[in-house]
């Protein structure tokens, strides 16, 4: 009986591809599904596109796909492994050209496809003229309020163009924004010839794609728990997850032999619900998944059987996520040792607040955190030992419309070293203003986006 093995590639732009080698060498995978784009990554790529220099020309794609393929392709070609990646970001063709150049320089052969049509930044007016309000999905706010500050706007495409590119013989498929799980569903639908209205099978593929899309989080990484995390073996060599899928969509979820990490009922159910809203209606461009009927059978030795997905018809809309400029963040930090480490941080915050108000700076928001006490747990930090801390760091951040204020804020802090409370550390320079971005999620009729879909294949 035919099975298809798909392995996780990266889980974000900047993730490590070192573990992918084991999946190709020992995991028997036929595909690597590599997710380079978090909700925020397009914002980073937009800045990259704006700020190119002579030595690093503007790219707009996730640059790590080039060295990743340069390192892994000889091994992948030997094992007949194909890559599906959304590393194209805002410029899939640019990514293709960069990879093609590398392959030509090395004398390698491959068919590289790009899927484009997801970017709608230049089409906002056209879409509105076609009757799409593009109002904020949650608040209902009018897009006019952010239109002139918008930096990117991309629709989440589905798995169909990926399957189509594979059907045309592509060895590497580069996309821009697609639903993360489409990187897995595309190859599965192509291999098994699933119909695009076979909702249960598509839902099964979506489930597996979701379990694979965060690399190590699907195989024991970031296992949120007290104590249990310490039982995950060999983090240093943690293997990325692999799904061995049957034609009916059921799968054995595992990882390459001889690697660290853990695939178990506990670790993969954490990934199943990760960044999910209503688990009975998990939307994708291809199908709506109900997670309530899934069955996970832990059969031991890092293997879990996954079955029982149920799907409902795909939505008539696609989700767009746009990003807009939303002010500037200024940051200041200073640390103190015992005695009264926390009290000295608190006093410093008070001094800084005084300096800010004397300058009359217009701030939209101020955030005061104490690293070593509450910077990660917030109001749920336990104050029992607050006044006996060995050391504590004050971190203050502000939001302002004025970049100069954001830059100036950090410069208030070094002065405290000689003129503030004693036993000070962390005077390691001043942090410059950081641009902040608002996220604008909205919906659009799918045919208005899909009419611009384009698949191109370059043979090297």
């Amino acid at each position: 009986m035919k099975t298809v093995r798909i392995g996780a590639g990266l889980g974000f732009y900047g993730d490590s591809w070192r573990p992918v080698r084991a999946s190709i060498e020992r995991g028997g995978v036929q595909y690597i599904a590599s997710d380079h784009l978090s909700e925020l990554t397009l914002a980073i790529l937009q800045k990259d596109r704006q700020k190119g220099t002579a030595s690093a020309p503007p790219a707009g794609y996730a640059r790590d796909c080039v060295p990743m393929l340069a390192e892994l392709w000889p091994l992948a070609a030997k094992h007949g492994v194909k890559f599906v990646l959304n590393a194209g970001g805002l410029n899939p063709e640019g990514a293709r050209h960069a990879i093609a150049k590398t392959f030509r320089d090395k004398g390698w052969q491959a068919k590289i496809a790009t899927v484009t049509g997801d970017s709608v930044l230049e089409r906002i007016d056209e879409l509105r003229a076609a009757g799409e309000a593009l109002a904020h999905m949650d608040s209902g706010a009018d897009i006019a309020s952010v239109r002139d500050r918008m930096l990117f706007a991309n629709a989440y495409l589905g798995a169909q163009p990926i399957a189509e590119a594979l059907a045309q013989g592509a060895d590497i498929v580069l996309t821009g924004r697609v639903a993360d799980a489409a990187l897995t569903l595309g190859p599965l639908a192509h291999e098994f010839g699933w119909r695009w209205d076979d909702w249960d099978r598509l839902a099964a593929g979506l489930t597996l794609g979701h379990l694979l899309e965060c690399s190590g989080q699907g195989s024991g990484g970031n296992f949120g728990s007290a104590g249990e995390w310490a039982k995950v073996p060999d983090y240093a060599h943690l293997g990325y997850p692999i799904a061995e899928v049957s034609a009916d969509g059921s799968a054995l979820f595992t990882k390459p032999p001889g690697t660290g990490g853990r695939v178990s009922f506990d670790t993969i159910r954490q990934q199943l619900l990760y960044e999910v809203h209503d688990p009975h209606a998990y939307y994708s461009p291809d199908v709506v998944l109900d997670m309530g009927t899934l069955k996970f059978d832990d059969v031991g030795n890092d293997r879990v059987r996954v079955s029982g997905a149920s799907g409902a018809a795909r939505p008539n809309t696609l989700k767009i996520v746009a990003g807009y400029q939303d002010g500037w963040m200024g940051t200041g930090m200073i640390g103190f040792a015992w005695p009264e480490a926390y009290a000295k941080c608190e006093k410093s915050a008070e001094i800084i607040q005084t300096l800010v108000s004397e300058r009359g700076w217009a701030l939209e928001d101020t955030n005061v955190e104490y690293i070593g006490y509450n910077s990660l747990l917030g109001a749920n930090a336990d104050p029992t030992y607050r006044d006996q801390l060995n050391e504590c760091f004050l971190r203050m951040t502000i939001r302002t419309r004025d970049k100069r204020i954001a830059d100036g804020f950090g410069r208030l802090f070094p002065w405290l070293g000689l003129s503030g409370p004693p036993y000070v550390g962390s005077l390691k320079g001043v942090q410059p203003a950081k641009e902040l971005l608002g996220i604008w999620p909205t919906l659009v009729k799918r045919e208005l986006v899909e009419k611009n879909l384009k698949i191109e294949i370059e043979t090297i």
Partner: protein, 114 residues
Amino acid sequence: MKVALWRIAHARSGDKADRADIGLFAYDAETYAVLKREVTRERLAAHFAGFNTGPVELWPLDNILALKIVLNGALQGGAARSLRMDNLGKNVAAQLLRMEIEAPQDLPRMKPVK
């Protein structure tokens, strides 16, 4: 007796725009029944008061012994405009594991108090 969730459950959190979402998982079926009864939207709203500004949503998933929790309005508008150290809400699950509920003291896989 009062039991903190970290002794009987595990959890992971993530972000989508201004929403922080948490998966809370019982180690066994008996504990799951307790979580389902005791971890209510009202108690969650109280535990996250001062952190979350929007409504709390909650779905039980009997098939994987889990509760799915969504805090609508917990991330200062979203990770890319948040001023917090934990802009991605990765530690919201740790915050939840500090919540205390009423639970029997003989649950099968209860961890000892540290």
